[in-house]
Amino acid sequence: MKYQIVIAGIGGQGAVFLVKVLSIASALANQKCLGTENHGMSQRGGSVSCYVKIGDFYAPAIDEGQADLLIALEGAEALRNIQYLKKNEGTIVVNADKKFPKLDYPSFCIDAFSKAKKKEFPIDALNVYMLGATLALDPHFPFTCKEIEEAITQMNAKVAQKNIAVLHQGINDAKANA
């Protein structure tokens, strides 16, 4: 199995957290995993793009036209990274409202900001919420809900319960939306 995921967002939104969760999930699913993330200068509210490559890979970065999935924690950051998607078939799961443009890729928009504004979930769990949406919407996503839950627990057992609740909220909202 080979599956390449780009995670895009703004520094501080927790893209790196998702890289960690997905790499733990790979280990749980007995898959090889190689990824890369942004630190330092890239962290300070700037654009962030992280890569997770599941399966047999040798280079940590993802090239243009290669990603199966783009998880974007913000709309403009999704658009900034669409060139990494496989032509016409790479899937986009993005936190954006209805104004997100029509693209030649299967795209799923979740308006997570407006839900957070209504206090439906805490904004600092946006990353986990969008991971939930991905679980519900990407039919080829290589992990089960159980594996993701276990990975979230391994990351930080103390806040796991809260995070898993947000994960399921993301799953349910996405299903209701779709």
Partner: protein, 603 residues
């Protein structure tokens, strides 16, 4: 056992497993996590180790080097530009050698992600004549730490490990040792004056000859252990790809994904290379292409009419590697037709630019703002330095950035070369300790007239909030007393999120500057908003919104203050993003010329 590790984590664990028990260095992306992770593993494995941040890379190198001379296994960590600072020590240490072992870890940053240069530490190893190992993944980084420590001891030479950002910040499931097998060595300095205190010319001449002998032995070892075994996998293709580090991953993926025919030879130790033996391999090939980053270190050691690389103009000369660049190179050399496999259309409409910015609530922003407000742009030069406050660039508050400590020495230079302008210099506390003190002494003894503002948030914020000398030991190390000890007054301002007060303080410095005959020095006691210990009570007290009727969309807040929550809404007025606002309330006064910023009433 298997463990999910980031590259810098794998390196730290490798050090523990290799019996390293003395580590010194200075933070710098992408190397910063190594030392902290080593401290973490020291606790996990209950190892009694020394692992501390030095004031700069040269100090860190020298501390570790003395440990290695005493027979211990040691390590110095830094980023590639930090190696420039440590290079004075490295160049001599490489002549002298060592007794225990020393791994010099210098992390490179192809693509300038967080660095001012794209220099290649492997080329520095070549310059200093020490062997260098170049890992391509976290797993290899772990393995090469252990190998590097071992051969450092064997050859009595410093060994460099050169991970690039895509290794240091890569994450991989790695196979690592479960238990500790190697015990740290005891330090026991043996007096050997002709060796440890060799003086020129005779002493160093002798050591220079020994250095060449040592290199010959290492070249032979490189061939026997690292290069020749890999040639067994050759399939007799017409093209040979020579790779090193991350270049190898891109080449292997491109070749396997496109089913291209080529043999690949990866150099784990790209310097020193056994030139003749490697060149003899070329006989069976039509073309030999070197894939390495960021500079042509391997290519410079070899020569053949069949050899293609950066020097021959067939590969990119700048920026990080990618599979698309591999295909370009193969096409340039004439091995394949040009291919668009790794090209795809970008989004064509304009997207909001998101350069890195100072955090909401960061005190640096207020100080930069106040400086440009008081010292008018037309009549001032703003020199600055390396750290979060470099992002004052976004506010138009910085004219020059060079390297660590240069804000102070360049202020001296400008005060001489353009005396009609006021020079205002900003430097952080960690950078001041690193290399700001020496230029301040220089400025004071020569009576250079400028303003120096030391932004003291008591942490090395940009690289992940590593501790600083005055944070760990505030009773002995204090910036104000250091400045006073250099012979000038140190004005002090305890930062408040009240721009009137911050502007007034900078005005008081301007008054001093008018009659000054030496540097006017000030320290602003700040905090980092990400520093949980210090930030408490400073943020979240009063949130701000914009009175839409008063906002005239004049741009002044988003150009001179530039706090991330401030942005234009659909009505063309400024709005503050409540998710991003830190509630420092500093922008309530001064920033808006029409007083449109008002406090959010309790809901």
């Amino acid at each position: 056992m298997k463990q999910i590790l980031m590259g810098n984590d794998a390196i730290a664990l490798g050090m523990i497993h290799a019996g390293v028990d003395m580590v010194s260095g200075y933070p710098g992306t992408p190397s910063s996590e190594i030392l902290g992770n080593f401290q973490k593993y020291s606790r996990t494995f209950t190892c009694n180790t020394y692992a501390q941040w030095a004031t700069n890379e040269k100090v860190g190198f020298e501390v570790a080097y003395a440990g290695a001379i005493s027979g211990k296994r040691t390590c110095a960590t830094m980023k590639q530009v930090g190696l420039n600072v440590a290079s004075d020590a490295l160049m001599s240490a490489s002549y002298i050698g060592l007794k225990g072992a020393m791994l010099l870890i210098s992390c490179d940053d192809p693509g300038f992600y967080s660095s001012q240069t794209e220099q290649d530490s492997r080329s520095f190893a070549k310059f200093a004549r020490i062997p260098v190992l170049d890992p391509s993944t976290p797993q290899e980084a772990y393995d090469m730490v252990k190998l590097g420590v071992e051969i450092s001891h064997q050859f009595e030479s410093i060994v460099m490990l050169r991970p690039v950002m895509r290794v240091s910040h890569a994450r991989e499931i790695c196979e690592v040792d479960e238990a500790l097998h190697v015990k740290p060595l005891k330090g026991d300095f043996e007096r050997n004056i002709p060796r440890w205190a060799a003086v020129p010319p005779a002493g160093r001449f002798r050591q220079g000859l020994e250095q060449f002998e040592r290199l010959d032995v290492i070249k032979a070892w490189n061939w026997e252990h690292l290069i020749e075994p890999k040639t067994k996998a050759f399939k007799g293709e017409k093209v040979l790809c020579l790779t090193s580090g991350t270049g190898d991953g891109y080449v292997r993926e491109a070749i396997s994904e496109l089913g291209l025919k080529a043999d690949v030879l990866k150099f784990d130790m790209p310097y020193p290379l056994p030139k003749e033996k490697v060149e003899a391999l070329f006989e069976h090939y039509e073309k030999v292409i070197v894939f390495e980053e960021p500079m042509p270190c391997i290519e410079e050691q070899l020569s053949s009419p069949k050899l293609y690389g950066k020097l021959t103009g067939h590969l990119h000369k700048i920026d990080e590697f990618s599979k698309d660049k591999v295909l370009n190179a193969l096409a340039n050399v004439g091995v394949i037709e040009p291919l668009n496999t790794y090209k795809n259309a970008k989004y064509t409409e304009e997207l909001p630019k998101r350069p890195p910015n100072m955090c909401p609530g960061c005190p640096h922003r207020d100080v930069h703002y106040a400086i440009t407000k008081v010292f008018k742009k037309k009549k001032s030069i703003y020199t600055s330095d390396i750290g979060c406050y470099t992002l004052g660039l976004n506010q138009g508050a910085i004219d020059t950035i060079l390297c660590m400590g240069a804000s102070v020495s360049m202020a001296s230079g400008f005060s001489i070369s353009d005396p009609d302008k006021a020079v205002v210099s900003t430097i952080g506390d960690s950078t001041f300790m690193h290399s700001g003190v020496a230029p301040l002494i220089n400025a004071i003894y020569q009576n250079h007239k400028f303003v120096l503002v030391i932004l003291d948030n008591s942490t090395t914020a940009m690289t992940g909030r590593q501790t600083t000398p005055e944070r760990t030991n505030p009773h002995q190390i204090d910036i104000k007393r250091i400045v006073e000890g250099c012979g000038v007054e140190c004005h002090e301002y305890i930062y408040e999120p009240d721009l009137n007060k911050t502007v007034d303080f900078i005005k008081s410095l301007q008054e001093c500057y008018k009659t000054a005959t030496a540097p006017v020095v000030a320290v602003v006691r700040e905090f980092c908003v990400l520093d949980k210990e210090r930030v408490e009570g400073h943020l979240g007290n009063a949130f701000v919104e914009v009175d839409q009727d008063k906002c005239v969309a004049c741009d002044s807040c988003i150009t001179t203050y530039k706090c991330p929550p401030m942005h234009y809404n659909e009505a063309g007025k400024i709005e503050i993003d409540p998710f991003l606002c830190a509630g420092c309330s500093a922008c309530l006064d001064v920033v808006c010329p029409t007083d449109a910023f008002v406090e959010v009433k309790e809901k």
